[in-house]
Amino acid sequence: MDFASVLMIEILGSIAILVLISIGLAVVFGMMKVINMAHGEFLMLGGYVTIYGTNHAGFSFWVSALILAPIVVGLIGLLLEWLVIRHLYGRMIDTMLATWGISLALVGGMTMLVGNTTTGISTPLPSVSIGDFSVSGYVIFLIGLAVAVCALLYALFKLTTFGLLARATTQNADMVAALGGNPRRIYALTFGLGAALGGLGGAALAPLTGVIPTIGASYIAKAFITVISGGSAVIAGNLSASALFGTVGQVFTYIYTPVIGEVALLLTAIVLIRVLPKGITGRFFRRSI
């Protein structure tokens, strides 16, 4: 019984990690159709902001990870949008090439700045005992964080003027412009929001995995698989795809090995895209966000 609850926490933890690494991409790709190959590097930057904020600038881990990282990476996102992305809206393949270039530049730049060794940060929060077992308290925090991020994002899209405009712009930018909105600004802010969420995800994962300038590469594939399988609804799609893949990956990892877990996750994704080409929310939960 104890072990069942431990396994449950680990499955939820895996789902939470998938949500955190892919939700920023879901906003940028799902809403704006920008194939952001630099999303993994946004995660990496978030990790570095956290480590430097905690180890060198004297902020607490929570301030660095939950406030500094999203703000700094969000601003970097706004800058990159203004420099590169804004010239490429509506040209999906070109955004892929341009953001791939950005990704290479960010990896190279960070390597020059901080070197190429894995740096890390101690995991905050003590462990939690469950009968004979103990699990990382930090994993439980991640589950809470993923829930909070989804709830806040839902509120933002559903309850604010910005959210309404953002949703309208993704559907029909010309109509928004005709009604007096400013699609350029909406796009910029949406891209910044996606980058900030990436920064937050990277910050949250830094204590678990350590950070190295090339770490983005290990996240980007999973993030894209989750977002594409989720389909067009940003939050519902992301949550349902993360829940499916997190569960499958974790259960197979437990029964067999981490390698089999990864394989099972990828096979599930292939089958899912074959059966539901428009992703989960292309078929179910259509009216959700």
């Binding site: 190429n116 060794t117 103990s134 699990v135 981490p258």
Partner: protein, 407 residues
């Protein structure tokens, strides 16, 4: 200007004399040593200290007036933890540097890429890392420790201290797989039991599930043969799950990549390791070495790793071989080394074992404590017993393979 015949001949003569002179100085020019070690791509925390130690060794040699009166030049390549680049750079080094010796390879996977290439191009090869043992190749010298020297000692020590039930976590390539076999063998030898074995590819960073599996298995201790930057997450998550100190951990890879420096004391104190060299060793030669090394690289140098020392001692053994042979000719140096070259190094006495081309040396069991390694027990002058069981290059000089234990 008109050139008379005499002037022309004179000029021609001068030119030929010049070319002879330059050829002579080419022969008497620097001795090249090539080094291929990963300084990026995931294994940099192992590679950087090795490259530093080699640079130190070469500078020290040149400060003594070089080797056979010639300057030693070090060419360093970075294969970036990429086997294709290992193959490419190994060929490039062997063909264009014309090195007297090549020091290369951290993982066993990379060694098995480099080794045949060096054989093919008749270039002497030194592999200076601890590894799983069993390579039998007259063109290669291994100056790192092997399982018979370390794994056996640490398995016996851990079983005595905690009990014989062990759970193995290891990196998923030849090194990890073979080390796991050795742990199984030595555990069976002293009546213990292996409760589980898990292998992780080099890029895995999520160990949550394995940690719960270990908790469910309730072993007496955990054996780690994890390798590389990504696997540091295991120790971090082990601590985060409240397991550090609850179930003891022994490892022959921990600290090789400065894990004890990268992790905080709260994440690493109490882990047991077994190595040929510890920076803390209390002998005059080592004290002097650490002082000189810090003078060259700064007093805040993270740690002089066993792998770095392996390369330093390897270089010193090779240089002793060259001096004994009186030349850098490959066969002459091999034969000189096969006479059983021996020297006093910071880790203690190190001696080339002629039959296996491996090294006899001291090993120390140590406890990780506040970013350092505190010696607990010393085993002096351990021969490479595992490889000696299968390899005799004096009797079979043409042998060229890696023997693997089978049970």
């Amino acid at each position: 200007m008109k050139l008379t015949r005499r002037q022309a001949l004179g000029a021609f003569g001068a030119a030929t004399a010049m070319s002879f002179a330059s050829r002579l100085s080419a022969q008497e020019g620097p001795i090249t040593v090539s080094a291929l070690y990963d300084q990026s791509g995931g294994l940099e925390s192992y590679g950087q200290p090795i490259v530093d130690a080699l640079r130190f060794a070469v500078d020290e040699q040149n400060a003594k007036g070089g080797l056979l009166g010639r300057e030693v030049k070090l060419n360093v390549y970075d294969p970036q933890t990429n086997m294709q680049l290992y193959a490419q750079f190994a060929r490039q080094a062997a063909l264009s540097d014309k090195p007297a010796v090549v020091f290369a390879g951290i993982t066993s996977a990379s060694r098995e890429v480099v080794r045949p290439i060096m054989r093919q191009f008749n270039t002497l090869y030194f592999y200076a890392n601890q590894y799983e043992g069993g390579v039998c190749d007259r063109n290669m010298f291994a100056t790192g420790v092997t399982p018979g020297q370390t794994v056996e000692k640490l398995v016996n020590y851990s079983a005595q201290q905690h009990g014989g039930k062990v759970y193995i976590v290891a990196a998923d390539y030849n090194y990890g797989q073979i080390i796991a076999d050795w742990v199984k063998k030595y555990t069976a030898d002293n009546g213990g039991e292996v409760l589980g074995t898990e292998f992780f590819p080099m890029d895995v960073t999520d160990f949550k599930t394995s940690i719960s599996k270990i908790q469910a298995a309730k072993p007496d201790y955990v054996w780690s043969a994890l390798v590389g930057g990504a696997h540091i997450s295991f120790y971090r998550q082990w601590k985060a799950a409240g397991m550090l100190g609850k179930i003891p951990m022994s490892s022959t890879t921990f600290a090789g990549g400065n894990e004890h420096v990268i992790l905080t004391p709260e994440e690493s104190n109490g882990i047991m390791v077994c190595q040929n060299y510890l920076q803390e060793l209390d002998n005059p030669l080592n004290k002097q070495f650490v002082t000189d090394f810090h003078a060259r690289f700064g007093a805040n140098y993270p740690y002089i790793t066993e792998l770095g020392m392996g390369a330093y001692q390897g270089f010193r053994l090779w240089a002793a071989g060259v001096e004994a042979a009186g030349s850098v000719d490959r066969m002459a140096v091999i034969e000189a080394l096969e006479s059983g070259i021996s020297l006093d190094a910071p880790s203690g006495r190190v001696t080339i074992d002629p039959k296996t081309h491996h090294t006899t040396m001291d090993v120390h069991i140590a406890r990780v404590e506040n970013g350092g390694l505190i010696p607990v027990e010393t085993f002096e002058q351990q021969p490479p017993a595992d490889t000696a069981m299968v390899c005799d290059l004096i009797a079979n000089p043409d042998d060229n393979q890696q023997y693997v234990i089978d049970f």
